[in-house]
């Protein structure tokens, strides 16, 4: 009985999130905000279970997965289950992180193990270690300005174009490529 309830709960959740994403892909940004917020909670739980030894990396990976979901949202096929698509992305980013870490630890001798105790505190657990703002600031202007104007300051594409002296299509392309560049920067930084 319990199993049936659990399965029904999963189906309802899957259906709800799928509907939100389908509306988002059609241009409903409010639905997209709700979708990403609810998805982030699921991602956090999913990744926390799999990163027991690396609790500090959970929030970073949640953010990285959200960015990946956003950058790749055109690859979602509404005819297929959403859970399989999201899970494949989250697992891919998880494996990618573990691979990067393994490469990093091979090159860096962890001599200062005893300092770890004071370097980490519980209140930090919910914070991302990597500051996306800093990475964003490092992007070249042609990517940074479109993102800052349209996404952080909430200007329209036209206003952003007037303000920055770029064309409207350069703004649109800049946002798209900039978020991909941001994801690439994350991969370069541990």
């Amino acid at each position: 009985m319990q199993r049936i309830d659990k399965e029904a709960g999963f189906r309802a959740k899957e259906e709800r999130l799928r509907e939100l994403l389908v509306r988002s892909l059609a241009g409903d940004n409010a639905a997209y905000q709700v979708f990403l917020t609810e998805l982030s909670a699921h991602l956090r739980a999913f990744l926390r279970r799999r990163l027991i030894g690396l609790p500090d990396d959970v929030e970073d990976l949640v953010q990285e997965s959200l960015l990946a979901v956003h950058n790749q949202r055109h690859t979602y096929n509404p005819a297929l289950p959403l859970s399989a698509w999201v899970q494949a992305i989250a697992r891919y980013k998880l494996v990618d992180l573990l691979r990067r870490r393994a490469a990093y630890e091979q090159l860096n001798d962890p001599l200062d193990d005893e300092m770890e105790l004071f370097a980490t505190a519980d209140s930090e657990a919910a914070e991302a270690r990597r500051d996306l703002n800093k990475l964003l600031a490092e992007l070249p202007d042609q990517f940074r300005l479109p993102i800052v104007h349209t996404k952080l300051e909430g200007l329209s594409v036209k206003e952003a174009a007037d303000l920055s002296g770029m064309s409207e299509s350069a703004i649109k392309v800049g946002v798209h490529r900039g978020l991909k560049a941001l994801a690439a920067k994350i991969r370069g930084v541990l």
Binding site: L25, G27, Y32, Q72, I89, E127, L132, N133, R187
Partner: protein, 213 residues
């Protein structure tokens, strides 16, 4: 940046997104790849002298049919492996059927042949160069297919690289059919397949680096 802020950033002005027409994108890539492979074939090899007569022989079309079916299977696998979480349970069937088909034909041909003739049917005249030439012709197709795949989001990189390589290898083999004088089914069943598997192996090796996103 807090996660809620990132979500707001992503959702602000996100707008509508169109689903990519995967089949169309790959068809364009394969078209360019075939053009490149044909140019390489015309420049470095040549069209077989007797092509005019060969196209009337059933074996020519068996050969063409095998590599074309393998290419179709490779395209199916490539499309499936280009997007996260797509089911791939039919991929082994799509790739296995053309191979089983040509192997059955080859087995029948070998059994019916005189024992002395068998090694000739298997090795033909060009077994040393055939797989390598197919692999060479596959380079432009491979580059074009990988370029499309990179814009999508493969999550099983080695398998995706393998599928892209097999697709380009078998498309290259279709082009190579216009040059290759071999008409023995056992030859096709082994050396053509090997030629298509070389780029597939390269794809599987390179997948993790080339397709990473």
């Amino acid at each position: 940046m807090k996660t809620e802020d990132l979500i707001t950033l992503l959702a602000t002005g996100a707008g509508a997104v169109e689903a990519p027409a995967l089949g169309q994108r790959y068809a364009t890539a394969i078209g360019w790849g075939v053009l490149g492979a044909s140019l390489l074939m015309l420049l470095l090899l040549q069209i077989r002298q007797d092509l005019g007569q060969a196209i009337w022989l059933p074996m020519f079309w068996v050969k063409m049919g095998f590599v074309a079916c393998l290419a179709a299977g490779g395209l199916f696998a490539t499309i499936r492996l280009s997007r996260p979480g797509a089911k791939i349970d039919w991929v082994p069937v799509a790739l296995g059927l053309p191979v089983l088909g040509i192997w059955s034909i080859a087995a029948v041909v070998l059994m019916e042949a005189e024992p002395m003739e068998r090694s000739k049917l298997f090795f033909g005249e060009t077994w040393k160069s055939c797989p390598l030439l197919i692999a060479m012709l596959s380079v432009p197709v491979f580059a074009a297919v990988i370029r499309v795949m990179k814009q999508l989001a493969p999550t099983r990189l080695r398998l995706a690289g393998f599928a892209a390589g097999l697709l380009s290898g078998s498309v290259a083999a279709v082009v190579y059919c216009l040059h290759c004088p071999e008409m023995g089914a056992p030859f096709i069943a082994f050396w053509y397949l090997l030629g298509a598997l070389i780029p597939a192996g390269v794809g599987a090796l390179l997948g993790n680096t080339v397709l990473r996103w």
